[in-house]
């Protein structure tokens, strides 16, 4: 027997997740263009690990495997995690991080729809706390490094940790633009001089700014398809812009301009793909404002005054904890009970 409504809009969870995956592709293409194909290796590794862990956990939990495997949510977690860690990270790191994200932070909380924390960000947090050194070895973009590895060399390094003879790790990797900025500021170099370093481009880091633009394009696709609402990206980027702007105006020699923050690190992918995860973000408009604005503030504070290279993951997780509370206190007024009638 089935019940009203007897018709439904042709849409599904797996379609939604699939469109989010598609929206990541422009960013990934630009990633490969600027940093080589290594990222595809870690995406593949993460995807396989995610699907295997998902299937195993579903089996263990006694849930039907097929409908849940097809929902594409595990793949999305895998892609987001792979995109947040250095592409040359050893294979076991990708596997550990993904397996942890899917099993502990998703399925132990009840699986799809029940995880309070963004699984990809949990995976990232576990990796950066456990293996801080490889998590800072980012690939040097095309044209900046003295040596460039081909795909085979990269694969070899990911799986065995061995580099071709005569190549040192420092030659092919570097700190992120955010990290470099922090180190250079500590050395008391003025902002203008730092920004003239070859690793910086027009907006932020050479190469990485293009990837961020790719994610922005993908995010706009999601907005147009109404997969995400504009609230969280706008409030997050707005708050990040505002606080960065204030500091930059007060002391431009020591604080990077707001646009630098927008296109550095994980701000774009975070604003459009990670904070917007519906499961771990508030449902009310007011709630989304509080959530995203606070996340923007925390991101800036961690980036500028904290010890970690980027603040997106921790600001996301910190705000994830607050979601139930935010939702409970931001319930909107309902039809006929708003207290005003014409």
């Amino acid at each position: 027997m089935f019940f009203a409504p007897f018709i439904s809009k042709p849409d599904s969870v797996s379609q939604i997740m699939l469109r989010v995956l598609l929206a990541l592709i422009p960013g990934i293409v630009l990633y490969v263009w600027h940093f080589g194909p290594a990222i595809l290796v870690s995406i593949t590794l993460a995807s396989i690990t995610a699907l295997a862990t998902e299937a195993a956990m579903l089996k263990l939990r006694g849930s039907p495997v097929t409908p849940f495997i097809k929902d594409n949510s595990a793949l999305l977690t895998a892609w987001l995690l792979a995109l947040s860690i250095p592409p040359l990270a050893p294979w076991w790191m990708v596997v550990t991080g993904t397996a942890f994200a899917i099993s502990i932070s998703k399925h132990l909380y009840g699986g799809l729809g029940n995880n309070p924390f963004n699984p990809a960000m949990i995976g990232y947090a576990v990796l950066i706390i456990s293996f801080p050194v490889p998590m800072t070895q980012w690939l040097t973009p095309h044209g900046l490094g003295s040596v460039e590895l081909n795909l085979l060399d990269q694969l070899h390094f990911i799986f065995s940790g061995a580099l071709p003879p005569g190549v040192s790790l420092d030659a092919i990797t570097m700190a992120t633009p955010l990290d470099t900025l922090k180190t250079q500021l500590h050395l008391d170099r003025p902002m203008q001089e730092i920004m003239d370093m070859p690793i910086y481009g027009r907006l932020a880091g050479q190469g990485s700014e293009a990837v961020a633009l790719g994610f922005l394009a993908g995010g706009l696709f999601l907005l147009l398809n109404r997969i995400i609402s504009w609230h969280i990206p706008v409030f997050y980027l707005g708050s990040l812009f505002a606080i960065a702007g204030v500091f930059h105006l007060i002391d431009p020699a020591h604080y990077a301009p707001p646009m630098f923050h927008w296109f550095s690190g994980a701000a774009m992918i975070g604003a459009l793909f990670i904070l917007t995860d519906p499961i771990t973000s508030p449902t009310t408009t007011k709630g989304k404002f509080i959530f995203a604005a606070c996340a923007g503030l925390i991101t800036y504070l961690i980036r500028t005054f904290g010890g970690f290279p980027d603040g997106l993951a921790f600001s996301t997780l910190l705000m994830n904890i607050c979601v139930p509370l935010i939702d409970a206190y931001t319930q909107p007024k309902i039809f006929g009970k708003k207290g005003k009638q014409p």
Binding site: I7, V13, I16, F68, P278, I279, T283, T284, F335, P342
Partner: protein, 561 residues
Amino acid sequence: MKKLFKFHGGVHPPTNKTQSNERPIAQAALPSKLIVPLHQHAGNTAQPVVEVGQRVLKGQTLGKPDGRLSSTVHAPTSGTVTAIDMQPVAHPSGLPYLCITLIPDGLDEWVPREQHDWKTMSHSELRHLLRDMGVVGLGGAVFPSDMKLYSHKHKITPLVLNGAECEPYITCDDRLMRERAAEILQGAEIMRALLYADEVMVGIEDNKPEAIAAMRAAVAAGSHERMEIVAVPTVYPGGGAKQLIRVLTGIEVAAGVRSTDLGVQCFNVGTAYSTWRAIAHGEPLISRIVTVTGHVGEPQNFEVPFGTPIAELVAQAGSLPETSGYIMGGPMMGFPLPTVDAGVIKATNCIIAMSDTLFPVAPPALPCIRCTRCADVCPAELQPQELYWFAKSKNFGKAQAYHLFDCIECGACSYVCPSHIPLVQYYQFAKSEIHQREQDKQAADRARERHEYREFRIEREKREKAERLAAKEKAAQEKAVTVDKAIEPAIAATNPDADPESTMQFKIQAAIDHAKEQAAAIKPKNTENLSPEQLAEITEIEVRRARIRELAQSNVDQPKE
């Protein structure tokens, strides 16, 4: 151009109206038998006033209203009453209700019809007439119209006529407005007079241009004043009374608030039409327009006498093989008919024959991902994802705090849910559980009060008896003292063993025995002279107890895992 308001959310399902709205309304053939339920309206079941074997005329009263909130039921044609018994009816529960089975004699012979000029009648007369004619709201709620046609002390500014018909597939109001616009407006004039309303607004969704044109032409032809036909945007559930009132007037009628309190009243166009027929032509409500559509040969609208078995009605539109079931109402809010033998009732606006291609079974539900598409479309501006969460976890207090009872069950949330969760069913479940608990609590409260009063009464009686006894004793003693003094020698002579102590003992014993006897005599009175309802209630309670005992027993029997 009139300024229209918006309501939050809404969805745009495929309208599927052209299948049935191209053909004119056809008169449905008289069926072999009519099964007329006596409960076709909101409120109490009508009481049958005919007998088995009796010949009745078309329009003759079959059932009289029982109490204030009830309505009259009439014979849809002339014929013989063959049964008055419980039959399955067109209701989601599938439970049987009291029905009158009528075998038509084919003569279709009317009772004498009295035509009235409503302008010469008092409002009270008009309301009584509407009640006697069985006029109820034809938009779906079947609420007795006479009860809605009071404005009390409130000033009704606009009378809203609902011709929006926002549910997909349904076209009965569309065809009615195209074909009988003048009479709808005449009915609206009667309603306007009864409500002292200034203005009449007819809201019609803009996907029905023919109906809008016909109604506008009728307004001009009938020179109706302060009456406006308003094209409203096509968005489901724009035809819900609350939503249409909002769109036309900007007023939001919250749950539990009477629209008249806010100065507005709303009727379906079909109700206005029936009001006119009842008063001007003396025709009681014995038929209505029903859309038969979906998986049938010739989808169209029929004027159907109530009681026509649904199977016989569908056959007239051409039944097709591989029909998987029937929906009464629209695909958004209708319900699957438990049986096709049931008769068409006043609430039957549409019958949709289902097939697997037209209505594919939804894929299994996945967990909620809190995407809030449901909240985006909810016309009551609720947070359906939260309500779902609370209903699922049986956290009914929270569900109520999140305004569960403001949900109008329009189904827009379920329609857009990418996880295909049957949200409305969760809300219905929560609502019925809450109602049940409330009833149980009330019953428990009543029982407790009764028990406490009984305790108090027994205590009081005991005290009063003791007081009476003491008083009597005292009086007797005083008397005995005087008597004893006089006859002491005599007593001593006749009863040498008698001592004052033992006579006292005897007297006390006798008093106690007497009290006990009285108590024994009082006890059974509690269960005597019970009304049949009380007896039924007791039996029900006994059955429930037995079931609980059984359950408890089986729980005990089951080995602990």
